[in-house]
């Protein structure tokens, strides 16, 4: 008797897929409960406060949606690049460079600039900044074939150090003394909440999700991204300019991360600071992967992930070590990823008389 894993001919249907992922989540919760019991924390009450922190009150939901915006925007960008088989793990750097550009514009605009113009310029600068930072990886990739995985990753560190230098040196706010903050950007450039409650960046996330869906559905650019990503030689055969596809794909990906950075500046902190992101760019990679790169699942998963993040914070307030919440997050991710991948196989038992 042997066990064989055989790849399925067709991808599982959506309900079948959802069922497997739900099983994965169930398994994750069971494992987490075991871990909590071992570390002398009552599993039920820990999970309860985790969920309360994430979605338990209107304030919690607001805060979760606020965090879902940068995670989701980075994830949409990463998913977009993956259409062309480009792996952008530099969303964190592009996020910060977008935030830097947005702050730069926000600090230099004259005070009397009107509100819509100022917001548009601040966010536009973020889009441009993110794209420019991604271009540093995209151009060598397109012209010399330099691996974008390495360059985007390493550009993250350069950008973080650049931000660190700015907020401690030339852009340090004298009023915050030793805190690594820049001065606040002009009031007119601050993005207020929509309908009084939800963060102003949330509509941008919805628009980005819709754009990704439209690009997939039937744009020539989306088609060329897919062909160039799947078979570069076939792209050349089909008259597709592969260099343009690489550059435009990666820059668009960076632009979305840059927009996320600008939204953080304009709608949340109002100023540049080193702790602007707890790793939104890297969470975006996970979210894009968990969602299989599909638009609607990205929205849902980024909200869930943001909830997990917020729930983790509320655990720490309840004197449960931060490491526990990190372990819980990791367990849940591993189980969902495993369930998603295994769903593409079927398990078959083989009986063999002869050996």
């Amino acid at each position: 008797m042997r066990v064989r894993l055989e790849p399925r001919l067709t991808d599982p249907s959506l309900p079948a897929y959802a069922l497997r992922v739900a099983l994965g989540i169930g398994l994750a919760l069971a494992l987490s409960a075991g871990l909590l019991a071992l570390s002398d924390h009552p599993p039920a009450s820990v999970l309860d406060s985790l969920l309360r922190g994430a979605f338990g009150s209107w304030t919690a939901v607001q805060s979760t949606l606020t965090k879902a915006v940068p995670i989701g925007l980075c994830a949409v960008g990463i998913a977009l690049a993956s259409r062309a088989n480009l792996t952008n793990i530099g969303a964190e750097g592009q996020f910060f460079f977008g935030a830097f550009a947005a702050t730069g514009v926000g600090l230099s605009l004259p005070e009397e600039t009107s509100h819509p113009v100022a917001v548009a310029l601040v966010l536009g600068a973020g889009v441009f900044g993110g794209a420019a930072w991604a271009a540093l990886a995209a151009i060598p990739r397109a012209l010399l074939g330099m691996s974008e995985i390495l360059t985007t990753l390493m550009l993250n560190y350069i950008c973080l150090l650049w931000i660190n230098f700015l907020v401690r040196g030339p852009w340090a706010d004298p009023l915050t003394f030793s805190f690594p903050y820049s001065p606040p950007i002009l009031d007119a450039g601050q993005l207020g909440p929509v309908s009084g409650a939800i963060q102003g960046g949330f509509p941008f996330l919805l628009i980005a999700i819709a754009l990704l869906a439209v690009i997939d559905a039937g744009t020539r650019w989306g088609y060329e991204l897919r062909v160039a990503g799947d078979a570069p030689e076939a792209a050349r055969y089909g008259g597709i300019n592969a260099a343009w596809i690489v550059i435009s794909g990666l820059c668009a990906s960076g632009a979305l991360a840059g927009l996320a950075g600008a939204i953080e500046i304009s709608a949340t902190t109002g100023r540049l600071q080193t702790g602007l992101s707890p790793g939104y760019g890297f969470m975006g990679v996970l979210v894009a992967w968990l969602a299989g790169g599909r638009p609607l699942p990205i929205l849902l998963v980024s909200i869930l992930y943001a909830g997990l993040l917020n729930g983790g914070f509320s655990l720490q307030i309840a004197h449960i070590p931060g490491a526990i919440s990190t372990i819980l997050q990791a367990t849940i991710l591993v189980c969902i990823l495993g369930a998603g991948s295994l769903a593409r196989y079927r398990i078959r038992l083989v009986r063999n008389a002869a050996a």
Binding site: L9, A217, T219, R226, Y237, V350
Partner: protein
């Protein structure tokens, strides 16, 4: 060129079969690829496994090699059951397969490739063949420089090496999947010599091929498959090519339309002093000039590796010429004529995308498509391409699941949409069964008859003499003969093909 082989000694019926497939059934979703397949292979015989593309030959062989686990049925080797679905078990019991696409490590030497398969467990690799491998090479008559890296070997040498490797693993049942599709006639003759020596020591060979003349030369028994079932099993001797073709195709009739008339139109393709560099950096196309007019069907022939493939790749824009000029009647911006490269997946088709996406490749920049490609137009276009040669498959399913014949039909269908005035096709019928090849020949003839210029490369001289209006023979990168088909014959073409390389 037509050396005859002695007919192998008839089996006396007492010998036990070397291996048998018994009632093998394999389904893929709704498709039954193998339906109750049963046949045996005796020691010392060459069994030709015949059938159209998609008849189930490859599935049966993949079951034999342990790559597929059948849904029902057994395989017996030496009258004992084989553990199914395990490549290791199949190799251990003496089953070896030489695939159409060679599975060699290019950067290693010939010996290292053999060693990799035979004594992978050794910590310290030997540098030279052991006595056992040398004995095997002498027994079968391999002529290989075992210290040569594989990337420097010709296709024929690589094939020999593949066979040696499989034999060195202890194979007694050797499966050869279309072994001659990459060989010149002379190299094929050498291969068959090897095959005869291989079976001499109670080994057996299962030969998959579409070339009936070869089958009549070497096979002692035929197994014909159609629609997943074995429809004929019997001795090969005394059967004509027509009879064998009839068995393969069944009741359908296959006929090729008459070649287009010689009425000529305007120049559609002009090639002047073209030079193209090959892999090794040397010119593989040297100073080639010719013209193709509307209404012409020009066939480029030659022994493999004499520049035909590079010439067509350069015309199709897949390879940049190092000198000379290519003029087509179309405009400058992008390719506007039909081009069918020799390799489909990865070049003319993106393997990971759907059939629908693939029918758009290259066409997606022409009307009715714009920056927005409307679903309705995409669907209609896909249906047109599929209907051109009758490919019945879900438009959304991945293209790599199609059989070789259907891939060729999709590429050709897509390229012929919109009635191009120039068609350039590299080996359009390679690896196709009789019916599929006839369908594609007819389509090319029809294009030429409608006034288009058609340029094709082919390795089948009979095919060229039947359908082409003009023949170009290439040798050593030059065009050494350029004749109307009516003014030449097989002997003359053969002479020019094998003429000593000029300069």
């Amino acid at each position: 060129m037509n050396a005859t082989f002695p007919v192998p000694p008839q089996m006396n019926g007492i010998t036990a079969p070397l291996c048998s497939l018994v009632g093998v059934t394999k389904r893929f979703g709704k498709i039954v690829a193998n339906d109750d397949v049963t046949f045996s292979v005796m020691p010392g015989e060459v069994v030709a496994l015949l059938g159209e593309n998609g008849a189930g030959k490859s599935t049966a062989m993949n079951v034999l090699c342990g790559l597929y686990l059948p849904d029902a049925g057994t395989v017996e080797v030496d009258e004992r059951p084989l553990v199914l679905g395990s490549p290791a078990a199949s190799v251990a019991r003496g089953i070896g397969m030489v695939h159409q696409q060679f599975k060699l490590v290019l950067s290693l030497t010939a010996y290292e490739n053999v060693s990799l398969a035979v004594d992978r467990g050794r910590f310290w690799q030997r540098k030279r063949p052991s006595g056992e491998i040398e004995r095997l090479m002498a027994e079968v008559g391999f002529e290989l420089d075992m210290a040569k890296p594989v990337w420097r070997m010709s296709l024929a040498e690589r094939q020999q090496l593949e066979i040696l490797r499989v034999l060195a693993q202890g194979a007694r049942i050797l499966v050869l999947d279309e072994p001659t599709s990459v060989l010149s006639p002379l190299e094929s003759e050498r291969l068959f010599m090897l095959v005869r020596r291989i079976i001499a020591r109670d080994r057996a060979v299962i030969l998959i091929s579409h070339k009936l003349s070869e089958i009549r030369q070497v096979a002692s028994r035929l197994v014909v498959m159609r629609g997943g079932r074995v429809v004929f099993e019997g001795p090969a001797s005394g059967r004509t090519s027509e009879e064998i073709a009839g068995l393969i195709v069944g009741t359908r009739s296959v006929c090729v339309s008459p070649r287009p008339s010689s009425a000529k139109g305007p120049d559609r393709l002009t090639v002047e002093n073209l030079r193209v560099k090959g892999h090794s950096g040397r010119d593989s196309v040297r100073d080639v000039s010719f013209r193709v007019q509307g209404g012409e069907l020009v066939a480029v022939v030659g022994v493999a590796g004499n520049g035909q493939a590079e010439l067509l790749d350069a015309i199709g824009g897949q390879k940049a010429p190092s000198g000379g000029r290519i003029v087509t009647s179309d405009g400058r911006k992008g390719r506007r004529f039909a081009f069918v490269p020799a390799q489909h997946l990865g070049v003319a088709l993106a393997p990971g995308l759907s059939i629908e996406d693939n029918t758009l490749l290259g066409v997606h920049r022409r009307r009715p498509f714009s920056a927005w490609m409307a679903r309705r137009d995409v669907r209609r276009h896909c249906r047109t391409v599929q209907d051109m040669f009758g490919v019945a498959a879900e438009p959304g399913s991945p293209i790599r699941r199609l059989s070789g014949g259907n891939l060729q039909r999709i590429v050709l269908g897509r390229e012929l949409v919109g009635d191009p005035a120039l068609v350039v096709a590299s080996y359009p019928t390679r690896g196709l069964d009789i019916a599929a090849a006839a369908q594609i020949r007819n389509a090319l003839i029809a294009r030429a008859a409608a006034g288009a210029a058609v340029l094709m490369a082919s390795e089948e001289l009979e095919e060229c003499l039947t359908i082409a209006t003009r023949i170009l023979v290439m040798s050593g990168g030059r065009v050494v003969l350029d004749r109307e088909t009516g003014q030449t014959n097989l002997d003359e073409i053969g002479r020019f093909m094998t003429a000593a390389e000029a300069s």
